[in-house]
């Protein structure tokens, strides 16, 4: 298994993606993993999980709408997390399934369970997992108040893992204490375990 994190420092921009840190963070974390461990893209799936998704893009588009401003077509293109997974699939010739999930639970458990399910398919050998969450916005802060969730990370952050069929089956950290990583805490801890560092 291999893992990489991105954030809190700014990730390099990705052509065609604007305004939000969400997509550059995802791209950087996944790219770090896939450059370190290339593989057969035709036997690779990608799964992205985020409780709130790209709140920066969503909120910016909505605020522009409310203000009566013309919508930016680039925000339309990146309005779903599919777009950055599509960019990565093109960059790394990945033709397996692409999934985007939202859960109120710690993202690590859901991502690992989904990877296990996908690897039931003998046509797949590995799954790229990425958890991403932006720091709270005015709207998401209001939303978190009514969610049973660990909450947002203190800073924008993405964590990627590549789970290979032949890897020992990873387990999500149990009873991870609340940290500044919010919903990403389990992934951050798992990544640190894989990298041999402390979270």
């Amino acid at each position: 298994m291999i893992a990489a994190t991105s954030g809190p420092e700014a990730a390099p921009p990705v052509a065609g993606f604007v305004e939000s840190a969400f997509n550059p963070l995802v791209h950087q974390a996944v790219e770090r993993c896939l450059r370190a461990r290339p593989g057969d893209g035709s036997r690779t799936a990608m799964v992205l999980a985020s409780t709130m998704g790209d709140a920066a893009t969503l909120d910016l588009g909505s605020r522009r709408l409310v203000a009566g401003q013309v919508h930016n077509p680039l925000l339309f293109m990146q309005s779903t997390a599919n777009a950055i997974l599509g960019q990565l699939s093109r960059d790394f010739a990945i033709t397996g399934p692409l999934l985007c999930l939202s859960t109120v639970a710690d993202l690590a458990g859901e991502l690992l369970a989904t990877a296990e399910l996908l690897l039931d398919d003998e046509e797949l050998d590995r799954v790229v997992l990425v958890g991403v969450e932006l720091a709270g916005t005015e709207r998401t802060t209001a939303a978190y108040r009514n969610l049973r969730s660990p909450g947002p990370p203190a800073t924008d952050q993405a964590v990627a893992l590549v789970v290979d069929r032949n890897d020992p089956h990873p387990r999500p950290p149990s009873d991870a204490p609340a940290t500044e990583h919010g919903t990403l805490r389990g992934l951050v801890e798992l990544a640190a375990r894989i990298q041999g560092t402390s979270p």
Binding site: T51, M52, P97, N146
Partner: protein, 385 residues
């Protein structure tokens, strides 16, 4: 061991109304549901038409309605162990209301702030599980126009592998301003007030209200509960194009891969009907046609293909589950829903698109396909019970 996946209940709501008969009278009659939008002022946007009737209602209520109907049909009771999977991007009307309230600075309007949580896809899944009273995991799929189809594929795999006995898969989208603005900015909306998939004069899509739910269940669970199978999901697959963030691969390569995966799982190439993604956009329809040619080879001209978005509009995250219910009705009634508004075919689109009028047909096995931004594709195979 692989467990058989049965469909034991469904609920559906579109602009035609609630339930199967509303679909029969609209979709299967080939009557488009597009009317002027009245739930908000469409003045600033590129079209004033959508398949949307009445005032805005919370997405959570519509999800509860269709999932409740599906659970009732399947005979599920509160307390049942069931996984809840929802294809949704959250409630966009709540999003607009939140920022309108914030912009107005009206502290006397707390409701939009309280409803901020309804913009969160995961909350919609949690809330639906609570309303249904079922016990089990809850998860939202947010991958745009393949979201509910992905939820169904995921649910099928949970059941087939023995990880779950019952999965309630649902999805919902209700026409609102945010996506009307976005699709307008992308020049994706129809200019002539009709959705004409596969036609030479097609000019884009129109949005539509849609929500549906299906109860998927292992054969063992259905037998134990005495539930009646309405159909069986025998194949499912997903794949990506690795081509572009928004446009499909011109040869429909991801779609072909997804469908081949589904066919391999279903065990055999025969397909009697295809419910296509058929968005009536310039890039989708020829790509889908080329993909179906690659999939069926010499048999392609003999496989009827229709796009029911020509009547329902594009249902975004709900597309997969609503179109699976339409496909189920086609199998059960022996009627192929037409591609409405069909004029002259695009020369690049040369299949049997069931133009304008429904056909009677004895079909046993059908394929429902969807595609989305990022080049994500799904394929589901449904068989008559």
């Amino acid at each position: 061991m692989t467990h058989e996946v049965l469909l034991t209940g469904f609920g559906v709501r579109t602009a035609f109304g609630t339930g199967a008969d509303a679909l029969r009278e609209g979709v299967f009659d080939g009557s488009p549901a597009f009317t002027p939008i009245t739930r908000f002022d469409p003045g600033p946007y590129r079209t004033n038409l959508a398949a949307a009737s009445g005032t805005a209602v919370p997405l959570r209520d519509v999800l509860a309605e269709v999932a409740g109907a599906a659970a009732g049909m399947a005979g599920l009771h509160p307390g049942t162990e069931a996984t809840v999977l929802v294809g949704t991007a959250g409630d966009f009307t709540a999003l607009t209301d939140f920022w309108r309230a914030a912009a107005s600075g009206d502290g006397a309007a707390p409701d939009p702030l309280d409803r901020a949580v309804e913009t969160v896809p995961a909350w919609q899944a949690e809330a639906l599980g609570e309303v249904l009273g079922v016990r089990g995991p809850r998860l939202a799929f947010t991958n745009a126009c393949v979201a509910s189809a992905s939820a169904i594929a995921h649910g099928c795999q949970l059941i087939a592998s023995g990880r779950a006995g019952i999965v309630i898969c649902t999805g919902a989208y209700l026409v609102e301003e945010e996506n009307l603005a976005k699709f307008g900015s992308g020049f994706a909306l129809s200019r002539d007030g009709m959705v004409r998939p596969f036609c030479a004069d097609r000019s884009g899509l129109l949005l539509g209200d849609g929500a549906a739910a299906v109860v998927l269940e292992s054969a063992e669970s259905a037998r134990r509960r005495g539930a009646r199978a309405l159909g069986a999901v025998t194949g499912w697959g997903a794949a990506s194009d690795a081509h572009h963030i928004a446009r499909p691969h011109p040869d429909g390569t991801g779609l072909v891969t997804a469908a081949r995966r589904a066919l391999r799982r279903a065990g055999g190439p025969r397909i009697d009907y295809v419910n296509a993604h058929g968005t009536a956009t310039k890039s989708n329809d020829p790509a889908e046609t080329r993909g179906l040619h690659a999939l069926f080879g010499a048999d392609a001209p003999h496989v009827p293909v229709s796009s029911t978005k020509s009547t329902t509009g594009h249902l975004l995250e709900a597309s997969g589950v609503v179109e699976l219910v339409i496909t189920l009705l086609a199998l059960r009634d022996g009627v192929l829903p037409p591609t409405a508004g069909f004029t002259e075919p695009d020369p690049a689109c040369d299949l049997d698109y069931v133009p304008n009028r429904p056909h009677k047909a004895d079909i046993r096995r059908a394929l429902s396909i969807n595609a989305a931004f990022g080049g994500a594709n799904t394929a589901l195979i449904l068989e008559r019970a």
